[in-house]
């Protein structure tokens, strides 16, 4: 009697439920994911293989075939030799211009927006709501409307066609959305913490730097990613508010790719495009985890 019970308990189901690897659910799920993945990766693949081919090989017309003879010549040319107008020093000039534009713009816009958001969230001063409404309204006005007035404004300030002028433009246009981002994040920080800091004798700046900022790393990372990629990828403001000497990388890329003289060097164009996209790509890769955490932290009340 005892034996039968034991043997029965051995044969009866135990432990995790077995799952078939090739179930219908898995095939549909992974099949769709793989298909979509390939769909998105094909253009990138084409760009990379084309940028590694020589021109004779490209003329054969088979864009999907891997390079027979790998060459980095197009990359070197795109970086250091490609011509835009009279300058023939490649994208490197645009790269450094973009760096000079992006770093101060990101820093200044985030510094101001975070203080804005902090003041709006914690120090509900008189007229705070009106100020906030106006600022948010600014986010909905199309850029085109403001382009020409800003040209006049910059001209009168003596900043038109200069880098500080473009930095100012980026700071202004980043303000509504960044302020909203920071304000919403700071309102999720418990109010009692702010009160405790006030009782403890910390002032406006003391609370900002020593209580709020150390608690808000994720949202600063989110803001940095938004700003770095946004400003790096900006084309419109770069082309309007600067002159060829200060053109950011995107504008220069356009000028290289769209130059009408001579043969179209597809390999150089592809290499130049990839070079321009490397910075945002790099930023996403290193900060992906923090980015997701920051977005989630803004959504969930801590």
């Amino acid at each position: 009697m005892a034996n039968t019970t034991v043997s029965q308990s051995h044969e009866s189901p135990k432990g995790p439920k077995p799952r078939k690897i090739l179930s219908r659910r898995n095939i549909i799920l992974y099949g769709t994911l793989i298909f979509v993945g390939i769909y998105y990766l094909i253009p990138l693949y084409v760009m990379i293989v084309t940028s590694l081919k020589g021109m004779p090989e490209i003329r054969l017309g088979n864009i999907f075939s891997p390079p027979v003879e790998v060459t980095f010549e197009p990359w070197v040319k795109a970086w250091a030799q490609a011509c835009t107008g009279l300058n023939c020093d490649g994208l490197s000039r645009g790269f450094w211009n973009s760096v000079k534009i992006t770093i101060p713009s990101v820093f200044v816009s985030i510094a101001i927006a975070s203080i804005n958001g902090y003041a709006l969230a914690n120090w509900r001063f008189k007229g705070a709501n009106l100020f906030f409404t106006i600022l948010i309204f600014g986010a909905f006005i199309p850029y085109q409307i403001m382009i020409y007035p800003l040209v006049i404004l910059l001209r009168d300030l003596g900043l038109y066609t200069k880098l500080p002028g473009l930095i100012l433009i980026h700071t202004i246009f980043g303000m509504p959305i960044l302020t909203l981002l920071f304000r919403n994040y700071f309102t999720t920080i418990p109010e009692e913490l702010f009160k405790a800091a006030r009782v403890d004798g910390a002032g406006f700046w003391g609370i900002y730097f020593r209580v709020m900022m150390p608690m808000s790393l994720p949202i600063f990372v989110v803001a940095m990613i938004l700003q770095i990629t946004g400003i790096w990828n900006d084309f419109l403001f770069g082309v309007i508010y600067t002159k060829p000497e200060y053109y950011p990388m995107t504008v220069q890329l356009n000028n290289i790719v769209n130059s009408v003289q001579g043969v179209k060097e597809y390999n150089v164009n592809m290499a130049a495009t990839l070079l321009t996209g490397l910075v945002p790509l790099f930023v996403y890769f290193i900060s992906g985890k923090l980015f997701v955490r920051g977005i989630a932290a803004g959504a969930v009340k801590g």
């Binding site: 418990p190 009692e192 913490l193 009160k195 405790a196 800091a197 006030r198 009782v199 403890d200 004798g201 910390a202 003391g206 020593r210 209580v211 150390p214 608690m215």
Partner: protein
């Protein structure tokens, strides 16, 4: 000398009047509890005293100094919050020393005070930890420590124990009382828990709709509540209220609407003013003042009741019943066995009852 003096304080948020012409004095070394249901303005009042809310009118004095327009940190107060409000990125030591660093106090003095506070609260081992690595009780100790290091005259507590579980709450309650006995500084403590209020307070201020209904010693509030609301709020289980009429008839002094009649001897009851016959009232009797069995025999008022529900709570048992259709509870010793539908004899002494006007609900 009064530690805190509030004169004609008014506060409104837009059109909503939160506090109106409130006056309050707290003596030096007193433990005052502000008690009330949520939304009664007790936390708001505390925030006004702390300077975290700008008042619309009135004056606030702390240690005979008019601090009405002072910054919170300059008022000589320490505050403990319900959610602990510890700075998550700082260690316990950082939390304790934050205010002292802001006040630019010398490093030696900071170390001394932090050590002293940690010793009093028994958190010396935790100084290097971050708040996230602490339990709820430990966090609240650190929060109290943060007020302690400031070496201030007045402590403000904003529902400090509400986030803790029942056992810890009882432990910390005693600890706060011990702390008060040791430091002997003024404490204002906001809570909605009447047990905390009764156990801790020298005086309790019961608030409702921005007004202080009664400000008295816990015993006085318990025995002589000024109105039905206060009587309901203090005491657990809640006081019984019987709606009825006081008659001039000797045999039937108190006539219940449901037809139940008792000859209450109210000659010893201290009425504020003589009442007219045929007065409609609430008769309030606390469940713990009702005698049962043999003891009931000796009571001036005694009657039989039918038991409806029995709730054993260990030490004693709460019995639910009805008199003339009105809810009636009483407490008996936990050793007594009782079943529903039993008929039992109970009694009480009218001297322990409270009588309220039916309409105004004020004590008569």
């Amino acid at each position: 000398m009064n530690s805190i003096e509030i004169k004609d304080l008014s506060l409104n948020f837009g059109d909503v009047i939160v506090l109106k012409d409130l006056n309050l004095s707290v003596a030096k070394g007193e433990f005052l509890v502000l008690l009330g249901a949520s939304g009664c303005g007790k936390s708001t009042l505390l925030n006004c005293i702390a300077g975290l809310l700008d008042i619309n009118d009135g004056q606030i004095f702390i240690n005979d100094q008019n601090v009405t327009w002072y910054e919170p940190s300059d008022r000589g107060i320490g505050m403990v919050f319900q959610s602990y409000a510890l700075y998550p990125q700082m260690s316990v030591e950082g939390n304790l020393s934050f205010s002292l660093k802001n006040a630019k106090i010398s490093k030696d003095e900071i170390d001394k005070r932090v050590k002293n506070a940690a010793e009093i609260l028994q958190i010396e081992d935790l100084l290097d930890r971050k708040p996230a690595a602490l339990s709820g009780g430990q966090r609240q100790r650190v929060a109290i420590g943060r007020a302690l290091v400031r070496d201030v005259e007045v402590f403000l507590f904003d529902e400090p124990l509400s986030n803790l579980d029942a056992k810890l709450r009882a432990d910390l309650r005693v600890e706060i009382k011990r702390l008060h006995q040791k430091l002997n500084n003024t404490m204002i403590y906001v809570t909605h828990d009447q047990i905390e209020a009764m156990t801790l307070a020298n005086r309790i201020a019961i608030m409702r709709d921005g007004l202080v209904l009664q400000l008295d010693e816990p015993k006085t509030i318990y025995n002589y509540p000024v109105n039905k609301y206060v009587a309901e709020f203090i005491g657990s289980p809640c006081m019984n209220f019987l709606k009825g009429t006081i008659l001039a008839d000797d045999k039937c002094v108190f006539n219940l609407d449901g037809g139940w009649c008792q000859s209450l001897d109210l000659s010893n009851y201290k009425f504020h003013e003589p009442i007219k016959a045929e007065k409609q009232v609430w008769l309030g009797i606390r469940p713990e003042n009702i005698a049962f069995g043999d003891k009931a025999e000796n009571m001036p008022v005694k009657f039989n009741l039918e038991v409806e529900v029995v709730e054993p709570m260990g030490a004693d048992t709460l019995v639910w019943s009805k008199i003339g259709g009105q809810e009636f509870r009483f407490i008996v010793d936990g050793t007594i066995t009782m079943n529903s539908d039993d008929s039992v004899l109970v009694g009480f002494d009218p001297i322990h009852s409270s009588i309220f006007d039916l309409d105004s609900e004020d004590r008569l």
